[in-house]
Amino acid sequence: MNGGRMTDEEIIQRVLQGDRAAYRLIVEQYQDVVFACALAVTRNDADAKDIAQEAFLRLYRHLAQVDPRRPLKPYLMRITVNCSRNLLAVRENWEPLGETPAPSAPSDASASERAAAVRELVQRLPQTLREVCTLFYFAGHSCREIAEILRMSEPAVKVALHRARKKLLAGWRCAYE
């Protein structure tokens, strides 16, 4: 335990020993980043919620195969990205994604308006850049972890992040400066 708080490994052990309710701790801890990641890929709240649920269910089913020596979060994020991509692949066959509307926060926007505008800017990025950007900024992963999650090389992640930043800044400056 860390200051009374169980580690992921301890929670997993409890779940594997039959304490199913302990799994809620995992869900509550990671629900925001999993949802953010799913939202970044799908760009749809309802889909993101379904994917987040599916990702946690998949993790639960494969909990016995999780390597306790490695951090859980990258593994969970990889499941989330895969679920999201699968859904997107199915959707793109018959339902092209619509264009996301341009952000429209005023220049003297409040923090919440700026936050909404940033989210919109992220959603306008191409898929790979969206994934990298979300894992970096929302999930707090390093480039090396993102490379593992997305099965890319680390330089490729850095290039994607650099391109994402350029696009985000250009979008931000164009709209608000």
Partner: protein
């Protein structure tokens, strides 16, 4: 682009994870190189913007996950037998209470239905002739009632315990 600038830009994404010793050469280079300093400021601006962004999962996600992983109750054979027996008992009790002779009541209804059916649905009645006797029909009907009652009871029980 020269080598120090390449190194700086390659290390920039990992800046938040670097320790003071690893940051020192980057900070030093940023102080000297206006172009890299601009990149660093841009990254800082984005860090500040993203610090304000909080994506929250919809309420109820943990409940949805937990209810999905809870094992669904299974109906035991004993429970099913008890429900069938109780359904049969209910049917008999209703018949006794209403003083209905099920055979005559059912037979009369079937005769009327048969007559009507023979006139209107001759092809269907050809299939009806295959049924061996009214007794079989009666018991078939009784079983159907028991099955329907059991199904509704079972469904209700599962909904209650899901």
């Amino acid at each position: 682009m020269n080598k120090p600038c390449e190194n700086f830009l390659a290390a920039l994404p990992d800046y938040p994870w670097l320790g003071p010793r690893e940051r020192a050469p980057l900070d030093h280079h940023a102080a000297e190189c206006p172009r890299c300093r601009e990149q660093w400021r841009a990254a800082q601006l984005l860090d500040e913007l993203f610090a304000e962004v909080r994506v929250r999962a919809p309420a109820g996600l943990p409940d949805a996950v937990m209810s999905a992983i809870e094992p669904k109750p299974r109906v035991s054979a004993g429970w099913l037998a008890a429900m069938l027996a109780s359904a049969l008992a209910v049917e008999v009790a209703v018949a006794v209470a209403l003083r209905i002779n099920p055979v005559s009541w059912w037979g009369a209804a079937m005769s009327w239905g048969e007559q009507l059916g023979r006139e209107w649905f001759a092809p269907l009645m050809a299939a009806w002739d295959w049924v061996p006797s009214f007794d079989a029909t009666l018991w078939g009907g009784a079983l159907a009632v028991v099955a329907a009652f059991s199904w509704f009871t079972l469904n209700h029980w599962r909904t209650e315990h899901a």
